[in-house]
Protein backbone atom coordinates (compact mmCIF):
# COMPACT_ATOMS: atom_id res chain seq x y z
CA UNK A 1 0.00 0.00 0.00
CA UNK A 2 1.33 3.39 -0.76
CA UNK A 3 -1.09 5.81 0.92
CA UNK A 4 -0.35 4.17 4.20
CA UNK A 5 0.57 5.31 7.67
CA UNK A 6 4.33 5.20 7.03
CA UNK A 7 4.02 8.27 4.77
CA UNK A 8 4.19 10.74 7.66
CA UNK A 9 5.56 13.91 6.06
CA UNK A 10 3.43 16.96 6.91
CA UNK A 11 1.06 15.24 9.34
CA UNK A 12 0.02 16.97 12.54
CA UNK A 13 -0.79 15.59 15.93
CA UNK A 14 2.21 13.51 16.99
CA UNK A 15 3.42 16.06 19.54
CA UNK A 16 6.93 17.29 20.23
CA UNK A 17 10.08 15.38 19.33
CA UNK A 18 11.15 13.36 22.35
CA UNK A 19 14.90 13.58 22.74
CA UNK A 20 16.65 11.13 25.05
CA UNK A 21 19.91 12.54 26.42
CA UNK A 22 22.87 10.16 26.15
CA UNK A 23 20.73 7.64 24.32
CA UNK A 24 22.25 4.14 24.27
CA UNK A 25 22.79 2.40 20.93
CA UNK A 26 20.18 -0.19 21.86
CA UNK A 27 17.45 -0.19 24.48
CA UNK A 28 17.28 -4.00 24.79
CA UNK A 29 19.40 -6.96 23.73
CA UNK A 30 16.69 -8.32 21.43
CA UNK A 31 17.05 -5.23 19.25
CA UNK A 32 20.61 -6.28 18.44
CA UNK A 33 19.44 -9.71 17.31
CA UNK A 34 16.79 -8.15 15.08
CA UNK A 35 19.41 -5.96 13.37
CA UNK A 36 21.60 -9.02 12.83
CA UNK A 37 18.75 -11.17 11.49
CA UNK A 38 17.66 -8.40 9.14
CA UNK A 39 21.12 -8.26 7.64
CA UNK A 40 21.50 -12.04 7.60
CA UNK A 41 18.16 -12.73 5.95
CA UNK A 42 18.51 -9.76 3.62
CA UNK A 43 21.66 -11.40 2.27
CA UNK A 44 19.66 -14.40 1.07
CA UNK A 45 18.52 -12.24 -1.83
CA UNK A 46 14.97 -13.59 -1.54
CA UNK A 47 13.54 -10.12 -1.14
CA UNK A 48 14.68 -6.59 -1.78
CA UNK A 49 15.10 -3.71 0.62
CA UNK A 50 11.95 -2.17 -0.82
CA UNK A 51 10.11 -5.46 -0.59
CA UNK A 52 10.94 -5.40 3.09
CA UNK A 53 9.85 -1.79 3.45
CA UNK A 54 6.56 -2.70 1.79
CA UNK A 55 5.98 -5.50 4.30
CA UNK A 56 6.29 -2.99 7.16
CA UNK A 57 4.15 -0.40 5.39
CA UNK A 58 1.42 -3.02 5.15
CA UNK A 59 1.20 -3.39 8.92
CA UNK A 60 -2.15 -2.13 10.24
CA UNK A 61 -1.77 1.62 10.94
CA UNK A 62 -2.45 1.26 14.64
CA UNK A 63 0.20 -1.43 14.93
CA UNK A 64 2.68 0.60 12.86
CA UNK A 65 2.38 3.57 15.20
CA UNK A 66 2.26 1.71 18.48
CA UNK A 67 5.25 -0.62 18.14
CA UNK A 68 8.90 0.42 18.28
CA UNK A 69 11.11 0.68 15.23
CA UNK A 70 12.91 -2.60 15.86
CA UNK A 71 9.63 -4.35 16.64
CA UNK A 72 8.42 -3.23 13.22
CA UNK A 73 11.53 -4.83 11.77
CA UNK A 74 10.85 -8.03 13.70
CA UNK A 75 7.25 -8.17 12.51
CA UNK A 76 8.30 -7.31 8.96
CA UNK A 77 10.88 -10.09 9.04
CA UNK A 78 8.33 -12.61 10.33
CA UNK A 79 6.01 -11.64 7.48
CA UNK A 80 8.77 -11.98 4.90
CA UNK A 81 9.99 -15.43 5.99
CA UNK A 82 6.42 -16.72 6.01
CA UNK A 83 5.51 -15.09 2.69
CA UNK A 84 8.60 -16.62 1.03
CA UNK A 85 7.86 -20.11 2.38
CA UNK A 86 10.95 -20.23 4.58
CA UNK A 87 9.08 -20.56 7.87
CA UNK A 88 5.55 -21.71 8.71
CA UNK A 89 3.13 -19.78 10.89
CA UNK A 90 2.98 -22.94 13.02
CA UNK A 91 6.72 -22.68 13.60
CA UNK A 92 6.47 -19.06 14.71
CA UNK A 93 3.77 -20.14 17.15
CA UNK A 94 5.82 -23.10 18.38
CA UNK A 95 8.98 -21.01 18.70
CA UNK A 96 11.07 -23.72 17.04
CA UNK A 97 11.60 -25.41 13.69
CA UNK A 98 9.06 -28.15 12.95
CA UNK A 99 10.51 -29.04 9.53
CA UNK A 100 13.93 -28.85 7.89
CA UNK A 101 14.74 -25.64 6.07
CA UNK A 102 14.55 -25.22 2.33
CA UNK A 103 17.73 -24.74 0.34
CA UNK A 104 18.94 -21.16 -0.03
CA UNK A 105 21.04 -19.87 -2.89
CA UNK A 106 22.87 -17.52 -0.59
CA UNK A 107 23.60 -17.51 3.13
CA UNK A 108 25.57 -14.83 4.95
CA UNK A 109 28.82 -16.21 6.40
CA UNK A 110 31.15 -14.82 9.04
CA UNK A 111 33.63 -14.23 6.24
CA UNK A 112 31.09 -12.07 4.36
CA UNK A 113 30.54 -9.97 7.49
CA UNK A 114 34.26 -9.51 8.06
CA UNK A 115 34.84 -8.51 4.47
CA UNK A 116 32.16 -5.85 4.70
CA UNK A 117 31.25 -4.83 1.21
CA UNK A 118 29.18 -2.02 -0.06
CA UNK A 119 25.78 -2.39 -1.59
CA UNK A 120 25.27 -0.19 -4.58
CA UNK A 121 21.90 0.67 -6.01
CA UNK A 122 23.33 2.27 -9.13
CA UNK A 123 22.72 0.40 -12.38
CA UNK A 124 23.63 0.76 -16.04
CA UNK A 125 21.30 3.26 -17.66
CA UNK A 126 18.99 1.83 -20.34
CA UNK A 127 18.42 5.35 -21.74
CA UNK A 128 19.86 8.83 -21.28
CA UNK A 129 18.59 10.98 -18.44
CA UNK A 130 15.55 13.00 -19.46
CA UNK A 131 16.27 15.92 -17.12
CA UNK A 132 19.30 17.97 -16.13
CA UNK A 133 20.07 20.29 -13.23
CA UNK A 134 18.01 23.47 -13.45
CA UNK A 135 15.06 21.89 -15.30
CA UNK A 136 11.57 22.68 -14.07
CA UNK A 137 9.51 19.60 -13.32
CA UNK A 138 6.20 18.64 -11.84
CA UNK A 139 5.79 15.50 -9.79
CA UNK A 140 3.06 13.21 -10.96
CA UNK A 141 -0.01 12.66 -8.87
CA UNK A 142 0.21 8.91 -8.45
CA UNK A 143 -1.55 6.74 -5.92
CA UNK A 144 -0.45 3.20 -6.67
CA UNK A 145 -1.80 0.44 -4.46
CA UNK A 146 1.77 -0.86 -4.21
CA UNK A 147 5.07 0.50 -2.84
CA UNK A 148 6.37 3.86 -4.00
CA UNK A 149 8.91 6.36 -2.71
CA UNK A 150 7.10 9.47 -3.85
CA UNK A 151 5.68 10.92 -0.62
CA UNK A 152 2.10 12.18 -0.63
CA UNK A 153 3.11 15.72 0.31
CA UNK A 154 5.22 16.00 -2.85
CA UNK A 155 2.74 14.75 -5.44
CA UNK A 156 1.51 17.08 -8.18
CA UNK A 157 4.01 19.77 -7.10
CA UNK A 158 6.25 22.05 -9.15
CA UNK A 159 9.95 21.84 -8.39
CA UNK A 160 13.42 22.13 -9.85
CA UNK A 161 15.96 19.46 -10.64
CA UNK A 162 18.99 20.21 -8.50
CA UNK A 163 21.19 17.21 -9.20
CA UNK A 164 21.25 14.04 -11.27
CA UNK A 165 22.15 11.16 -8.95
CA UNK A 166 22.68 8.44 -11.54
CA UNK A 167 20.53 5.54 -12.62
CA UNK A 168 19.29 3.48 -9.68
CA UNK A 169 17.18 0.43 -8.85
CA UNK A 170 13.54 1.54 -9.05
CA UNK A 171 11.91 0.82 -5.66
CA UNK A 172 8.39 0.66 -7.08
CA UNK A 173 9.44 -2.32 -9.23
CA UNK A 174 11.94 -3.91 -6.85
CA UNK A 175 9.38 -4.06 -4.04
CA UNK A 176 7.17 -6.24 -6.23
CA UNK A 177 9.98 -8.63 -7.09
CA UNK A 178 9.75 -7.28 -10.64
CA UNK A 179 13.47 -6.70 -11.00
CA UNK A 180 15.67 -3.62 -10.82
CA UNK A 181 13.98 -1.71 -13.68
CA UNK A 182 16.71 0.98 -13.38
CA UNK A 183 15.54 4.60 -13.50
CA UNK A 184 17.28 7.94 -13.33
CA UNK A 185 17.26 9.49 -9.88
CA UNK A 186 17.21 13.24 -9.24
CA UNK A 187 17.31 15.63 -6.33
CA UNK A 188 14.18 17.74 -6.81
CA UNK A 189 13.79 20.85 -4.67
CA UNK A 190 10.48 22.55 -3.82
CA UNK A 191 9.71 25.89 -2.23
CA UNK A 192 8.03 25.43 1.14
CA UNK A 193 5.05 27.42 -0.14
CA UNK A 194 4.59 25.10 -3.12
CA UNK A 195 4.21 22.20 -0.69
CA UNK A 196 2.45 23.84 2.23
CA UNK A 197 0.62 26.84 0.83
CA UNK A 198 0.82 30.61 0.81
CA UNK A 199 1.07 30.92 4.55
CA UNK A 200 4.11 28.69 4.83
CA UNK A 201 7.50 30.06 5.86
CA UNK A 202 9.16 31.44 2.69
CA UNK A 203 12.64 30.61 4.00
CA UNK A 204 12.06 26.86 3.78
CA UNK A 205 12.93 24.55 0.91
CA UNK A 206 12.42 20.81 0.86
CA UNK A 207 13.99 18.31 -1.50
CA UNK A 208 13.15 14.72 -2.25
CA UNK A 209 15.10 12.14 -4.20
CA UNK A 210 12.77 11.44 -7.11
CA UNK A 211 12.92 8.73 -9.75
CA UNK A 212 12.25 9.75 -13.35
CA UNK A 213 8.85 8.01 -13.58
CA UNK A 214 7.66 10.31 -10.78
CA UNK A 215 8.36 13.42 -12.90
CA UNK A 216 6.98 15.30 -15.87
CA UNK A 217 8.51 18.33 -17.60
CA UNK A 218 7.01 21.64 -16.49
Amino acid sequence: MTNSIHDLGGMHGFGPVEIEPDEPRFHADWEKRVVAMMRGMGATGLWTLDGFRASMENLPPVTYLSVSYFERWCRGLERQVVAHGLVGEDELTAGRALRPGIRLNRKLTLDDVNKGGMATFERRAPAPARFKAGDSVRTRNINPATHTRLPRYARGKFGTIEAVRGCHVFPDSAALGAGDNPQWLYAVVFAGRELWGEEADPSIKVSIEAFEPYLTAA
Partner: protein, 210 residues
Protein backbone atom coordinates in the same frame (compact mmCIF):
# COMPACT_ATOMS: atom_id res chain seq x y z
CA UNK B 1 -3.66 -3.62 19.34
CA UNK B 2 -5.77 -4.32 22.40
CA UNK B 3 -7.17 -1.18 24.02
CA UNK B 4 -5.42 -1.94 27.28
CA UNK B 5 -2.01 -2.15 25.64
CA UNK B 6 -0.73 0.98 27.33
CA UNK B 7 -1.29 -0.57 30.74
CA UNK B 8 1.48 -3.13 30.15
CA UNK B 9 4.44 -2.27 32.25
CA UNK B 10 7.71 -1.72 30.45
CA UNK B 11 9.31 -4.90 31.77
CA UNK B 12 6.69 -7.33 30.52
CA UNK B 13 6.65 -5.65 27.12
CA UNK B 14 10.39 -6.20 26.81
CA UNK B 15 10.23 -9.82 27.83
CA UNK B 16 7.43 -10.37 25.32
CA UNK B 17 9.73 -9.07 22.58
CA UNK B 18 12.68 -11.02 23.93
CA UNK B 19 10.67 -14.21 23.59
CA UNK B 20 9.38 -13.30 20.15
CA UNK B 21 12.82 -12.43 18.79
CA UNK B 22 14.44 -15.43 20.43
CA UNK B 23 11.83 -17.68 18.83
CA UNK B 24 12.48 -16.23 15.38
CA UNK B 25 16.24 -16.56 15.72
CA UNK B 26 15.90 -20.12 16.98
CA UNK B 27 13.78 -21.09 13.97
CA UNK B 28 16.07 -19.38 11.44
CA UNK B 29 19.12 -21.03 13.01
CA UNK B 30 17.58 -24.51 13.28
CA UNK B 31 16.48 -24.35 9.66
CA UNK B 32 19.98 -23.36 8.63
CA UNK B 33 19.10 -19.94 7.22
CA UNK B 34 21.49 -17.94 9.40
CA UNK B 35 24.93 -18.57 10.85
CA UNK B 36 24.96 -17.54 14.53
CA UNK B 37 28.66 -16.58 14.30
CA UNK B 38 27.90 -14.20 11.44
CA UNK B 39 25.01 -12.67 13.40
CA UNK B 40 27.22 -12.20 16.47
CA UNK B 41 29.80 -10.42 14.33
CA UNK B 42 27.17 -8.08 12.87
CA UNK B 43 26.12 -7.12 16.41
CA UNK B 44 29.74 -6.56 17.41
CA UNK B 45 30.34 -4.34 14.39
CA UNK B 46 27.26 -2.26 15.11
CA UNK B 47 28.19 -1.93 18.79
CA UNK B 48 31.89 -1.22 18.45
CA UNK B 49 32.76 -0.06 14.95
CA UNK B 50 30.20 2.28 13.49
CA UNK B 51 29.15 5.53 15.14
CA UNK B 52 29.22 9.29 14.81
CA UNK B 53 32.98 9.35 15.49
CA UNK B 54 33.38 8.28 11.84
CA UNK B 55 31.41 11.25 10.55
CA UNK B 56 33.15 13.58 13.00
CA UNK B 57 36.52 12.70 11.52
CA UNK B 58 35.23 13.44 8.02
CA UNK B 59 33.89 16.82 9.11
CA UNK B 60 37.10 17.72 10.95
CA UNK B 61 39.11 16.81 7.86
CA UNK B 62 36.87 19.02 5.74
CA UNK B 63 37.36 21.90 8.19
CA UNK B 64 41.16 21.77 7.96
CA UNK B 65 41.58 20.73 4.32
CA UNK B 66 39.74 22.89 1.76
CA UNK B 67 40.73 20.61 -1.09
CA UNK B 68 39.22 17.60 0.71
CA UNK B 69 36.09 19.60 1.50
CA UNK B 70 35.67 20.45 -2.16
CA UNK B 71 35.95 16.77 -3.12
CA UNK B 72 33.60 15.80 -0.26
CA UNK B 73 30.89 18.14 -1.48
CA UNK B 74 31.37 16.98 -5.08
CA UNK B 75 31.22 13.22 -4.31
CA UNK B 76 31.31 12.27 -0.65
CA UNK B 77 31.65 8.51 -1.17
CA UNK B 78 34.58 8.92 -3.51
CA UNK B 79 36.26 11.59 -1.39
CA UNK B 80 36.08 9.55 1.81
CA UNK B 81 37.01 6.23 0.23
CA UNK B 82 40.05 7.67 -1.51
CA UNK B 83 41.41 9.42 1.59
CA UNK B 84 43.88 7.66 3.86
CA UNK B 85 42.96 7.58 7.53
CA UNK B 86 39.18 7.64 7.05
CA UNK B 87 36.93 4.59 7.37
CA UNK B 88 35.35 3.59 4.06
CA UNK B 89 31.68 4.47 3.61
CA UNK B 90 28.94 2.95 1.52
CA UNK B 91 27.82 4.22 -1.82
CA UNK B 92 25.61 7.23 -2.44
CA UNK B 93 26.79 9.36 0.48
CA UNK B 94 26.07 13.04 -0.14
CA UNK B 95 27.59 15.84 1.95
CA UNK B 96 25.61 19.08 2.24
CA UNK B 97 27.26 22.18 3.61
CA UNK B 98 25.84 24.62 6.14
CA UNK B 99 26.66 28.25 5.37
CA UNK B 100 25.69 31.55 6.99
CA UNK B 101 22.87 31.64 4.40
CA UNK B 102 21.53 28.07 4.58
CA UNK B 103 21.09 25.47 7.30
CA UNK B 104 20.52 21.85 6.24
CA UNK B 105 18.36 19.27 8.03
CA UNK B 106 18.06 15.59 7.13
CA UNK B 107 14.96 13.44 7.57
CA UNK B 108 13.34 10.31 6.16
CA UNK B 109 9.57 10.85 6.16
CA UNK B 110 8.79 7.42 4.63
CA UNK B 111 10.86 5.17 6.90
CA UNK B 112 14.06 6.00 8.76
CA UNK B 113 16.87 6.10 6.20
CA UNK B 114 20.02 7.32 7.92
CA UNK B 115 23.72 7.30 7.03
CA UNK B 116 24.66 4.32 9.25
CA UNK B 117 28.13 4.11 7.73
CA UNK B 118 29.12 7.52 9.07
CA UNK B 119 26.75 8.11 12.01
CA UNK B 120 25.99 4.60 13.30
CA UNK B 121 22.49 3.69 14.45
CA UNK B 122 19.86 6.41 14.28
CA UNK B 123 18.56 7.74 17.60
CA UNK B 124 14.96 6.91 18.47
CA UNK B 125 13.78 10.49 17.85
CA UNK B 126 15.01 10.31 14.24
CA UNK B 127 12.77 7.27 13.67
CA UNK B 128 9.81 8.74 15.55
CA UNK B 129 6.52 10.01 14.10
CA UNK B 130 6.92 13.54 15.53
CA UNK B 131 10.26 14.10 13.79
CA UNK B 132 9.34 12.40 10.52
CA UNK B 133 6.01 14.21 10.24
CA UNK B 134 7.13 17.70 11.24
CA UNK B 135 10.68 18.15 9.92
CA UNK B 136 9.36 18.89 6.42
CA UNK B 137 6.50 21.22 7.39
CA UNK B 138 7.72 22.86 10.62
CA UNK B 139 11.52 22.62 10.67
CA UNK B 140 11.94 25.73 12.81
CA UNK B 141 9.60 24.34 15.44
CA UNK B 142 11.53 21.07 15.41
CA UNK B 143 14.89 22.85 15.66
CA UNK B 144 13.58 24.87 18.62
CA UNK B 145 12.84 21.60 20.42
CA UNK B 146 16.50 20.71 19.94
CA UNK B 147 17.49 24.08 21.38
CA UNK B 148 18.68 25.33 18.00
CA UNK B 149 17.76 28.84 16.93
CA UNK B 150 19.31 30.21 13.77
CA UNK B 151 20.02 33.85 12.97
CA UNK B 152 17.01 35.43 11.32
CA UNK B 153 17.34 35.33 7.58
CA UNK B 154 18.89 31.87 7.55
CA UNK B 155 17.17 29.71 4.96
CA UNK B 156 16.37 26.13 5.94
CA UNK B 157 16.80 23.27 3.53
CA UNK B 158 15.26 19.91 4.35
CA UNK B 159 16.58 16.78 2.68
CA UNK B 160 14.00 13.98 2.64
CA UNK B 161 15.90 10.69 2.16
CA UNK B 162 13.41 9.07 -0.19
CA UNK B 163 15.95 6.94 -2.13
CA UNK B 164 19.23 5.14 -1.30
CA UNK B 165 21.19 8.38 -1.23
CA UNK B 166 22.27 9.25 2.34
CA UNK B 167 22.99 12.72 3.63
CA UNK B 168 25.70 14.05 5.92
CA UNK B 169 25.47 17.68 7.01
CA UNK B 170 28.79 19.53 7.07
CA UNK B 171 28.30 22.06 9.88
CA UNK B 172 30.13 25.37 10.00
CA UNK B 173 33.42 25.32 11.83
CA UNK B 174 32.97 27.00 15.22
CA UNK B 175 34.64 30.36 15.72
CA UNK B 176 37.61 30.36 18.07
CA UNK B 177 39.11 27.13 16.75
CA UNK B 178 41.84 28.65 14.62
CA UNK B 179 44.92 26.49 14.69
CA UNK B 180 43.13 23.50 16.26
CA UNK B 181 44.25 20.04 15.18
CA UNK B 182 41.96 17.77 13.20
CA UNK B 183 41.69 15.46 16.22
CA UNK B 184 40.68 18.30 18.54
CA UNK B 185 38.16 19.63 16.04
CA UNK B 186 36.54 16.20 15.72
CA UNK B 187 35.62 16.35 19.41
CA UNK B 188 33.40 19.36 18.69
CA UNK B 189 31.40 17.58 15.98
CA UNK B 190 28.21 16.13 17.44
CA UNK B 191 25.93 13.55 15.87
CA UNK B 192 23.06 16.02 15.77
CA UNK B 193 25.22 18.64 14.06
CA UNK B 194 25.70 16.15 11.21
CA UNK B 195 21.92 15.54 10.95
CA UNK B 196 21.19 19.25 11.12
CA UNK B 197 19.27 19.18 14.41
CA UNK B 198 22.24 20.54 16.32
CA UNK B 199 25.28 22.75 16.01
CA UNK B 200 28.87 21.78 16.77
CA UNK B 201 30.04 22.28 20.33
CA UNK B 202 31.53 25.62 21.08
CA UNK B 203 35.22 25.53 22.02
CA UNK B 204 34.55 27.44 25.26
CA UNK B 205 31.86 25.14 26.60
CA UNK B 206 32.25 21.78 24.88
CA UNK B 207 30.06 20.00 27.45
CA UNK B 208 27.04 22.24 26.80
CA UNK B 209 26.07 21.06 23.33
CA UNK B 210 24.51 17.76 22.58
Amino acid sequence: MPADDHTHDHGSELSEMQLRVHALETILTEKGYVDPAALDQIVENVETKIGPHIGARIIARAWVDPEFKQRLLADATKAVNSTAGLDPVSNHLIAVENTPQTHNVVVCTLCSCYPWAVLGLPPVWYKSAPYRSRAVIDPKGVLAEFGVSLPSGTAIRIWDSTAETRFLVVPMRPAGTEGWSEEALATLVTRDSMVGTGLPKSPEKPEAAR
